[in-house]
């Protein structure tokens, strides 16, 4: 404790210089934490957008066939008793053709439960023109929603009638006439040019089935995905259970890419920031050479003296890091509160709000990293002490 106390006092021998070094460390901490906070928020946003964009948390399907009504009933009943499950919904998916007579376009389509899809994502298929899908297509005339790109290609507008062709589960072609009730946008132009949505019943009619291509499981908390997937695989070994993570491999690729980029930039920033401590310690060592010589003459080991400089660096790191932590949290809160909109990312057409996470775990890790980096930066220039002759040091003023 005496040594730490001595290091603490040594820091204040040159208040302005120490203040400057600690300030640089604080600014570095703010920059790193803000960047990490933004990155974590972006990852979280991407994850939730991926899940709410239609994947759900878990998808249950039957290998090479549709889920039969009794399968759906059994799985749904079991899932209803699980309090980690928010709700489930069914979907039929198909690839086919849509035609207005002169023009025919290849489409990817889904038969959905609109109310449940809206529960998964409040912003599900935002309507650009016309209205949404009716709740149940079985008791109404067949209707469809077209992506805005697809509607533009066909020159279709709400109220028009188009013919939809697809292969049934029995492997034969089926065609139904659908009334266009509206157009929607996903925010992804490529999808808007190909996607058609039908009420679930209409989709079943098109594919000539009473079953569903997949059952989508939506959880209350994304963190429970692995546990629930494992449980489902145990209870229903004959069905295919896939998590959102498995269904969206690009998520991990994006996360890895951004983590790598950030790690390199973070290390560079940390090195630049640490240089300020190295510089401060270089000056301190030059000024305190006679003091070092005296301590060596008193029988204090070189190692001990060097460690003391590292402690000075660590204290400086602690002061700068703590200041940076508080400032970063305040800045993040202010920016989140300001509701700043970021420009649309590549492949998207709508802006998104700037969010910066204040993650206590990340803050704790960053605090430790700044302290260790500052201690190492202070340790480096002490190499001079390792070969310092006592009498040479004592001659210094």
């Amino acid at each position: 404790m005496k040594w730490v106390q001595m290091s603490w006092r040594n820091i204040w021998r040159h208040t302005r210089r120490s203040f400057l070094s600690a300030s640089i460390l604080a600014f570095g901490t703010i920059a790193l934490l803000t960047a990490i906070g933004f990155m974590l928020a972006s990852f979280n946003g991407l994850r939730e957008a991926t899940i709410r964009g239609g994947l759900g948390h878990i998808q249950v399907s039957a290998p090479d066939k549709v889920l039969q009504p009794n399968d759906l009933r059994e799985i749904s009943e079991k899932l209803k008793r699980e309090n980690r499950v928010r709700f489930t919904m069914q979907r039929v998916v198909f690839e086919g053709l849509i035609s207005n007579g002169p023009n025919t376009v290849a489409v990817i389509g889904s038969g959905i439960e609109p109310e449940q899809e809206t529960r998964l994502s409040g912003g599900f298929a935002p309507i650009v023109a016309g209205s949404g899908l009716p709740a149940d297509g079985k008791n109404a005339s067949p209707s469809a929603l077209l992506g805005i790109g697809l509607a533009a290609k066909l020159g279709a507008k709400p109220g028009d009638s188009l013919t939809l062709l697809a292969t049934t589960v029995q492997g034969v072609l089926n065609a139904i006439d659908v009334e266009i009730v509206g157009t929607f946008t996903t925010g992804v132009p490529e999808l808007d040019a190909r996607q058609v949505l039908l009420p679930f019943g209409t989709g079943q009619s098109l594919l000539n089935t009473q079953g569903a291509s997949r059952l989508i499981v939506v959880l209350k908390d994304t963190e429970n995905t692995p546990v629930m997937a494992a449980w489902l695989r145990g209870v229903f070994p004959n069905f295919k259970v896939a998590t959102w993570h498995e269904l969206a491999p690009y998520y991990e690729q994006v996360v890895t890419l951004y983590k790598n980029i950030f790690t390199v930039l973070g290390i560079i920033l940390l090195l630049v920031v640490s240089m300020s401590v190295t510089n401060t310690m270089l000056m301190a060592i030059s000024e305190r050479l006679r003091e070092m010589g005296t301590m060596l003459a008193l029988g204090i080991s070189r190692w001990r003296i060097r460690v003391n400089f590292a402690i000075e660096g660590a204290i400086m790191g602690g002061l700068g890091g703590a200041t940076g932590l508080i400032a970063a949290a305040a800045i993040a809160t202010l920016m989140n509160f300001a509701g700043i909109q970021m420009p649309p990312p590549p492949g998207r057409s709508s802006p998104y709000p700037l969010v910066i996470f204040v993650d206590p775990y990340t803050y704790a890790i960053m605090f430790a990293i700044i302290i260790v980096a500052a201690a190492l930066a202070a340790w480096l220039p002490t190499r001079r002490l390792a070969r310092l002759e006592i009498v040479e040091a004592l001659r210094q003023n």
Partner: protein
């Protein structure tokens, strides 16, 4: 009579570029435990170099030094540090107190690496400061002490680890004559009361009378 410190044919040369300046030209010295030796000589005669070499702060180019029968000039770094922390104390001309530490902490400093309980370390420092007449100045930093008081703190620091021998390199050079006399009087008392061997250097003929033996140096050689 058994000699506590034995130095034989010590040679040391400083180099200034291509020119070698001899500081010690074959100095030999035998010191009995409990002596108070004054090394006298003009500036540049090699007094400080001899004290540094004898204390193990510097290495001679050749020659042999033994303290209590153990050679010190060949001791490795850790052994030298141990020796400096236990057997040998050193008092500097410019006091060399650590400015961020109080008088008591400066005296405690050589004890910090040792496994003494804090209260014992504190008690040892306070006893030694009281012994040099600074009982009331223990919590003062060096910049709040006079030159004489700072040198007393430095003496207390050199003695707190109970070394067998203390070297003092011109301890009165930065003090006025009255303070210098008081300080050497203190050294003589400590030498008598504690039995510690003292070797101090001086170029002041007035202060040399406190020594029980005088070693006269000139041009890197012992003349008498």
């Amino acid at each position: 009579m058994k000699h506590y410190l034995v130095a034989v044919d010590l040679k040391k040369e400083y180099r200034h570029g291509a020119i070698g300046v001899p500081a010690l030209r074959g100095v030999s010295l035998r010191v009995t435990a409990g002596e108070l030796i004054g090394i006298c000589g003009p500036s540049g005669s090699g007094k400080s170099t001899l004290l540094h070499v004898l204390a193990g702060l510097d290495r001679p180019d050749s020659g042999r030094i033994e303290i209590d029968g153990a050679p010190i000039n060949v001791a490795d770094e850790s052994k030298r540090a141990t020796l400096l922390g236990t057997e040998i104390g050193f008092v500097f001309q410019s006091f060399n107190l650590v400015p961020v530490l109080s008088a008591r902490e400066n005296v405690e400093l050589p004890l910090w690496p040792k496994p003494f309980p804090e209260h014992e370390r504190r008690s040892m420092a306070e006893t030694m400061l009281a012994r040099v007449g600074l009982k009331d100045r223990m919590d003062h930093r060096p910049d709040a002490l006079s030159g004489g008081q700072q040198q007393r703190v430095a003496i207390a620091r050199a003695l707190v680890g109970k070394p067998s021998i203390v070297f003092a390199d011109e301890p009165t050079a930065n003090l006025d004559s009255k303070t210098a006399e008081d300080l050497l009087q203190l050294l003589a008392e400590l030498n008598r009361d504690l039995g510690t061997t003292f070797i101090f250097s001086t170029h002041d003929q007035k202060t040399i009378r406190f020594a029980s033996r005088i070693v006269l140096m000139h041009d890197g050689e012992v003349r008498a």
